[in-house]
Amino acid sequence: MPHEKENQGNCFHASNSDVSRDGDSLFMTGEAQAIAVTDLHKRFGPLEVLKGVSLTASQGDVIAIIGGSGSGKSTLLRCINMLELPSAGSVSIHGETIAMKKDGRGGLMPSNRKQVERLRAQLGMVFQSFNLWQHMTILQNVIEAPVHVLGRPKDEAIATAETLLRRVGLYEKRDAYPAFLSGGQQQRAAIARALAIQPLVMLFDEPTSALDPELVGEVLSVIRDIASEKRTMILVTHEMKFAREVSNHIVFLSQGKIEEQGSPDQIFGDPRSERLKRFISSIH
């Protein structure tokens, strides 16, 4: 379906397939870039939350997005799977650019809903408030997308789900309803649900912000476990120590722009910009 891709992504994909992974982000090779966000803008009415953000994640990258509240980090994450529609800019997933058209109100909207649905099914999203489906048991939550979106056979999905639930320590709770679980258990179930679609990239939107302090550890250790298997992840978080520990790249967002980015040691050990210095000192 060539019309689904924007021309730019398409021709570079064809002619530059041998460009090295850390080449210029303009010359996307497609295969290497799990996620590529280019010059993303997002306006809510008069308020411009994102003012031109570009970000690429290669296979195996664990990228942590940090920043103060209102810096636009959750919005950026939600624009990647089009839960929030960007006002301008483009998003590519695995080299395939999401086709957008003008919505007539100064913003953009996907021109092909089927494409968005297909690409979303490659992104495992974990929400701040878990968002488990309350009318389904934990197991039903985990097999829902594999069975009804990806069309996998049910018994196969159940087997995968049970393995995942064992991994996050919730096998015994598989027949319980979400309301009967603690916040930490619900979030671990939500992580299993996201992993069940075997996503290309995991997106975490402040996964521990809604948890009581004593429940944060169990969720972080599950995420750490996933990060250790070289799965591509983009993580919006307030847990700085954790971000420094699991990620290989940190993006500091401030007032809708990337103020600074680099390796964890560089960001936390040798911050350059005034804002990042202030941010780091404010959280210690």
Binding site: R118, R120, F127, W133, A145, H148, A179, I197, A210, D212
Partner: protein
């Protein structure tokens, strides 16, 4: 650091296993006293009142109950089918549909059911025979009867009340759960079918229970357009025997039993998905 409020459909009347009476709980002094009083009332009613007419009317009563239940279930089922789109368009529909749906609900809920029934039966029903096309159509054998008008009026009424209930239920499903559905690549239809609708129905079940019980007690109105339901049978008994209390007490007992069965059935449905009481 706050935990978002747990979202469950909780309601004061939810049964939990602890609420169910155990055998021992029946033998408490106040309960024994109440049971003795109740038994006394039943016995004296049986002893002092006239029930000799009962065997003769039993077959008719049985058929009347069948008609009442048929009226109830068909109209509740059909009404609910209409209520789902009525509720849905009021939450997400384009404004003309929204206006139409809320207008429909307002008009129907704002007028007496008896009036609607009579407008359909005596109004519309008397217009139909003037059109030869209708008289010659395959529908005519049904339109000549009275029960289709009863079904139509009760269905419309139930749809309007349930439309409002479903509007609230659809609106009350947490946006995050729908968003999670979309985030995993579900189409709008899949989100609706697998998340939005079942969640909304589950939220609405306690209200649906109450509305269905009310609907049961609206069914006697069809007796006014010559449908022979259980109420009409009892009226016939009163005309034939000149008795007042006995048939009416029996009628009350019948409706109470039917209500009890309905409530228990709905509780079973509600408890299929346990909710944590708050």
């Amino acid at each position: 650091m706050t935990i978002p409020p747990p979202d469950e459909t909780t309601h004061a009347m939810a049964f939990t296993p602890e609420d169910l009476p155990t055998a021992a709980s029946f033998f408490q002094p106040h309960r024994i006293l109440l049971m003795i009083i109740f038994a006394g009332i039943v016995l004296s009613a049986a002893w002092f009142m006239r029930w000799d007419w009962l065997p003769q009317y039993l077959p008719k009563l049985g058929w009347g109950i069948v008609v009442t239940l048929a009226m109830l279930f068909s109209t509740a089922f059909l009404g609910f089918l209409f209520a789902v789109p009525l509720g849905l368009v009021q939450v997400t529909g384009p404004w003309p549909l929204k206006l139409l749906a809320s207008g429909f609900c307002t008009v129907i809920r704002g007028t007496p059911l008896l009036l609607q029934l009579w407008l359909l039966y005596y109004g519309l029903g008397s217009l139909f025979p003037q059109f030869p096309e209708i008289r010659n159509s395959f529908l005519w054998p049904y339109l000549r009867e009275s029960w289709p008008y009863g079904v139509a009026a009760l269905t419309i009424s139930f749809a309007a009340y349930e439309g409002e209930v479903m509007r609230g239920a659809f609106a009350g499903v947490p946006a995050g759960e729908l968003e999670a559905g979309r985030a995993f690549g579900m189409s709008r239809w899949t989100v609706f079918r697998h998340i939005w609708l079942p969640r909304a129905i589950h939220r609405a079940l306690p209200t649906l229970n109450g509305e269905t019980v009310l609907q049961l007690k609206s069914t006697p109105l069809v007796a006014t357009i010559t449908v022979i339901d259980v109420y009409a049978v009892i009226s016939k008994v009163r005309q034939d025997t000149y008795l007042t209390y006995e048939p009416l007490l029996l009628l009350a007992l019948i409706y109470m039993c039917l209500t009890g069965i309905l409530v228990i059935l709905f509780r079973k449905l509600e408890n299929r998905i346990p909710t944590r009481g708050a």
